[in-house]
Amino acid sequence: MMNHRLALAAAETPAPAAGAEITVHGVAAVCDPLGGLYLPDLSCLVISDLHLEKGAAFARRGMMLPPYDTLATLNLLAAVIARYDPRTVISLGDNFHDRRGSALMPDAFRDMIRTLAFGRDWIWINGNHDPDGTTDLPGQSADELVYGGLVFRHEPSLIAGRGEVAGHLHPSATVGRRGKYVRRACFATDGARLVMPAFGVLTGGLDLKHKAMHGLFDHAALIAHLLGRDRIYSVRFNSLIG
């Protein structure tokens, strides 16, 4: 079947949401199947790892990947913003695939972002792909943000995990039944911290059982919220394959 996020981006109207209602460090949150985390008490939408202009970043190195990923990701972003109409949007880093991405982005995409950000606070958290912040875009850049009882940063911290919402790892999880396996991007949370799925349509995933994830979560409480077509599938860590 078509890549899950691309299929969503290509859909005429986004499927109705059946998000999973959870709490992170006591803060109410909704994991949306489009890949955004909505914090209703703060009217805040969190997305992570947009990797905008990834195609162009490869083209600069001689691999002419299709120049359509930015548009598809922004369409998904528009859909999730329309769904919650948040006061604040936090983009959790790796907003662009490389340092030059935001400066060299075609104007049409820049205008789309301006429209999406109109009337909202927009915070660009810097990531490892784009540590220098953004060029000529609305909103402000920061390395991390403390807000509403949570800490927002790109890379999960190994020492201070409580109340942290991070990205970077592109978590995905695999479930299996009777020898059949499905792998999907997921929100990963043990109630104390949460790692966001990658929002960009041209991003890969890293399995929740990969060693890079070690030490981040209390496995007994860890739940993977997998992104389905129009709902979230919540599965305990111990029931995952991998």
């Binding site: 079947m1 078509m2 890549n3 691309l6 299929a7 981006a9 290509a10 195609g55 162009a56 490869f58 083209a59 600069r60 190195r61 001689g62 691999m63 002419m64 990947l65 299709p66 120049p67 359509y68 990923d69 548009l71 598809a72 075609p106 479930v175 299996g176 039944r177 009777r178 020898g179 059949k180 396996y181 499905v182 792998r183 999907r184 349509v201 041209l202 890969g204 739940i223 997998l226 389905g228 077509r229 599938y233 919540s234 599965v235 305990r236 029931s239 394959i241 991998g242």
Partner: protein, 866 residues
């Protein structure tokens, strides 16, 4: 054991043919001294040999300026024949005096295998040395050291032995013209196997370029028997493409054809053991195969997949009480290990080798006196070539035993022998040139020197696979090479090739040429990881280092969980994890491995054989040759249900568990059945049958559902005629194809070959994952945003030529119209058992993904609600 002597059918175009061996110089109408310089005559005389008639025929005609094709079986002295025109010409030329101006390569030899190039060098050096000819011979492969390559460029050998990829590299070099301007001959070995692949397309473009550098060039093709020699004869000469004036109308290359030797002696293995209902491994026959190994000097055991090879090898060793030297050879194994096996083989130190198609071709394998083929033949040419591996002396019959792996295969083997099948040649036709290969070539030509698009178009269309290429398509390819060819033109500033003031295309910067060189070639392996055998220390952690065992596909490893065991390289291994780009394993000592399910290597049943099997099924008078168990099986089927006539399609329905099943016996091969299954489930869904899944083997298709399909058919709520109407190959097919795994895999190859995606990037040579971006993602992006993109066009073309199964499906649907018979049964029928046993072995795809997700989530819900 049942024995059959199979006589080859002669279905060749008229040509000069020779019976083997008998005809020698005495009968040939040639003026010996004119053709063969004195050292050759002396050499033949001293050896007590005489040149064979076909060798002299080829020599005379090539020397007179003809392009030539030689078709001959192994052992006919094909190689010497191919080189005689060059060697005699070089002998007449004499030694090049020191201080002469630069002399380029005289003869280029191209083989599909680098091992073959190395082998030929050895075989050719011997007579050259014995005759004292002033001829230098060297090979140039991926293994040739840099210093030698450099020296070869300044001081080329007279005869250079190389591969299609190395030729492309040489041609993309600025010095190409100088290097090749004196070229007189190109000798193309195993041409039949090259021309039908993308490597052949690349080679044809290389040949067109060589002709530009050396207009007087003659080509000599060497080939095994093919169904249509004229395809190859045309391939060897320049064509006049569209829009070109026919300046030098070229006759197809001349044909010299040597007939095959003695008819092979083929039999079907029969044993007392139970023949399995399904499966492809034939474990039941292993003791009998072992007995045959003991009775023969050297046995080659061919299987169709690596998985079969692994399992068979392991099973043979479990009963190898005599400790016979039995080895394993397949493409996933480490190259070093394969070379060792090959060396031991040619030194006659092995009693048996279990092999896949990696051993189909070329090299001389010592004294093989028996070929065992496990699994049904599936296709005749492959079987013929494999059987030809045994006994290289042409006048003695090759000996081969077919080992059917299940009951249907027994019938398939029997049908093949009854129909004298082996002589029928079913080699694939030479197809249209692939567009991704053309894109690679265009970039290579820009690396060599700035090109004029019109000139290059004329050159490209002189290559026979590209003779029909339109100018518009060529322009799109150039645009693709430059900026990716997207409608959204945002990459102009990153273009790889640009136009000069004079309107010629050149590479934008030296890195582009470097990227080209690193990514050249048309063989795209599935993403594979190296398998390394490590040890666990006392603390239970996995150590570093250890032996490299070969490569295994990434998609297979993705399904493994730590602790899972699988069979690889003849060992049962325990999966420990993936570290960087390696798969770490330890010895498992387990007897029940989870087995590698390699994607490749599954050949579909040929149309011809399928028809033969249907015929046998319908005619009990032909069953007497079948083993008792198979005969009983068919008889019970006849009693419990029925056996369809040759032109009928039998559909059975029956309940089982809490499901309803429908089995269709189409005999069109697994791929065609899978496509049919996908299309039928869509229709059954619309008809309200609530289908849940389907499974296919080479002979039948089984679909299961929640509603009783048999009752629906009997009550008229479901019409079989509508269900199986030909119109299903319209929109339903289009929609399904776009999602299919096959198309994605094809796209991946196109993306890599065309240079859209790199295999290797400068400075990152050692990333084990062969492709740096997910091509599935790129495919989906293109499909949703630019469905007319040239690379999707290239993918569809490739798929269409690879999708023979769709054509078969169409032919079947037309054939069975009005001949569909339905039987509603109480229980599963004997004939249905093989396909029913396949259930559960299929990977999950499409809509079913959401079901698996939902079911996994239900556990948590149950926990929360409980």
């Amino acid at each position: 054991m049942i024995r059959f002597a199979v006589k080859p059918l002669q279905i060749f175009a008229p040509a000069i043919t020779f019976d083997l061996v008998e005809k020698t110089l005495a009968d040939a109408p040639y003026n010996l001294p004119d053709l063969l310089p004195r050292p050759f005559q002396t050499w033949f005389a001293e050896k007590g040999w005489a040149p064979r008639a076909h060798q002299m025929e080829l020599l005379a005609r090539a020397t007179a300026g003809e392009n030539m094709l030689l078709i001959a079986p192994t052992g006919a002295g094909k190689t010497l024949a191919g080189f005689l025109p060059s060697l005699t010409d070089l002998a007449r030329r004499g030694k090049v005096p020191p201080g002469s101006s630069f002399v380029g390569v005289h003869t280029l030899y191209i083989s599909p295998l680098k091992a073959l190039a190395v082998d030929i060098e050895r075989n050719l050096m011997k007579p050259v040395a014995e005759m004292g000819l002033p001829v230098s011979i060297e090979n140039r492969t991926g293994d040739t050291p840099q210093s030698k390559r450099q020296r070869q460029k300044t001081n080329p050998p007279d005869i250079l032995l190389t591969t299609p990829e190395q030729l492309a590299l040489l041609l993309a070099n600025k010095e190409a013209e100088r290097f090749f301007k004196h070229l007189r001959y190109v000798v193309l070995d195993e041409l039949h196997s090259l021309v039908t692949s993308k490597r052949g397309h690349l080679l044809s473009l290389g040949l067109a370029r060589l002709r530009r550098h050396a207009p007087g060039l003659r080509s000599i093709g060497l080939s095994a028997t093919v169904s249509d020699p004229m395809d190859l004869q045309r391939w060897l000469v320049p064509q006049s493409g569209p829009g070109q004036e026919v300046l030098h109308p070229q006759e197809p290359a001349g044909l010299v054809h040597v007939k095959g030797g003695a008819a092979p002696d083929i039999s079907i293995m029969t044993t007392e053991d139970r023949i399995p209902w399904s499966g492809h491994v034939a474990t039941y026959a292993i003791p009998a195969v072992y007995e045959e190994i003991r009775k023969h000097k050297t046995t080659l055991i061919f299987v169709n997949t690596r998985f079969q090879a692994e399992l068979l090898f392991q099973e043979l060793w479990t009963i190898n009480e005599d400790n016979l030297p039995i080895a394993l050879h397949h493409g996933s194994l480490d190259a070093g290990q394969r070379r060792k096996v090959e060396a031991a083989m040619s030194a006659n130190r092995l009693r048996a080798v279990v092999a896949t198609s990696t051993l189909d071709m070329g090299l001389d394998w010592g004294d093989v006196d028996l070929v065992v083929h496990v699994g049904a033949p599936k296709g005749a040419s492959r079987l013929a070539q494999r059987i030809g591996r045994s006994n290289h002396r042409m006048d003695e019959p090759s000996k081969a035993i077919l080992v059917p792996a299940n009951r249907f295969e027994v019938m398939e083997c029997q049908a093949a022998l009854d129909a004298n099948y082996l002589g029928a040649q079913d080699t694939p036709p030479v197809g249209e040139g692939a567009l991704d290969v053309l894109a690679q070539h265009v970039l290579g030509m820009a690396c060599a020197e700035p090109f004029d698009a019109l000139e290059l178009y004329d050159e490209v269309t002189s290559a026979s696979p590209y003779a029909g290429l339109s100018w518009e398509m060529f322009e799109r390819i150039v645009d693709f090479v430059a900026t990716g060819g997207y409608a959204l033109r945002t990459y102009e500033r990153y273009a790889k090739i640009r136009r000069t003031k004079e309107g010629r295309w050149r590479v934008s910067n030296p890195q582009v040429a470097q990227q080209y060189r690193m990514n050249l070639g048309t063989i795209v392996e599935a993403a594979e990881l190296n398998v390394r055998l490590v040890k666990r220390n006392q603390l239970g952690t996995v150590g570093r280092g250890g032996m490299s065992l070969g490569k295994v596909e990434e998609s297979f490893l993705e399904q493994l969980v730590q602790g899972d065991t699988f069979l690889f390289s003849g060992k049962v291994l325990r999966f420990e994890g993936i570290r960087e780009n390696e798969c770490l394993v330890t010895n498992a000592f387990s007897l029940d491995p989870k087995i590698p399910a390699y994607a490749g290597g599954k050949f579909p049943l040929s149309t011809y054989l399928a028809d033969q099997v249907r015929a046998m099924l319908a005619d009990p008078s032909r069953w007497h040759v079948l083993p008792d168990q198979v005969r009983d099986w068919l008889a019970i089927q006849k009693e419990k249900s029925m056996l369809p006539k040759r032109d009928e399609l039998l559909i059975e329905s029956f309940p089982r568990g809490n499901r309803f099943f429908m089995v269709a016996y189409c005999f069109e091969g697994r791929l065609a059945h899978q496509t049919l299954g996908m299309l039928l489930t869509r229709r059954l869904e619309r008809a309200g049958a609530r289908p849940l899944g389907f499974v296919a083997n080479d002979y039948a298709l089984a679909i299961w559902s929640l509603n009783d399909m048999g009752a629906m058919i009997d009550s008229g709520r479901l019409s079989l005629g509508d269900l199986l109407d030909e119109d299903m190959l319209g929109d339903d097919l289009e929609a399904w194809l776009a999602e299919s795994f096959m198309l994605k895999r094809t796209f991946r190859q196109c993306a890599v070959i065309s240079g859209l995606i790199e295999r290797r990037h400068p400075g990152k040579e050692k990333t084990g994952r062969q492709v740096t971006v997910s091509t599935d993602l790129i495919y989906d992006v293109l499909r949703s945003h630019e469905p007319d993109h040239i690379l999707l066009e290239a993918t569809r073309r490739d798929a269409a030529s690879g999708l023979l199964d769709i054509g078969r499906l169409g032919a079947m649907l037309a054939r069975i119209k009005g001949h569909v018979i339905h039987r509603a049964l109480e229980h599963v029928s004997p004939l249905a058992v093989p396909v029913m046993l396949e259930i559960g072995r299929e990977p999950v795809a499409g809509e079913a993904q959401e079901f698996v997700l939902a079911e996994a989530a239900e556990e948590l819900i149950a926990e929360a609600m409980g």
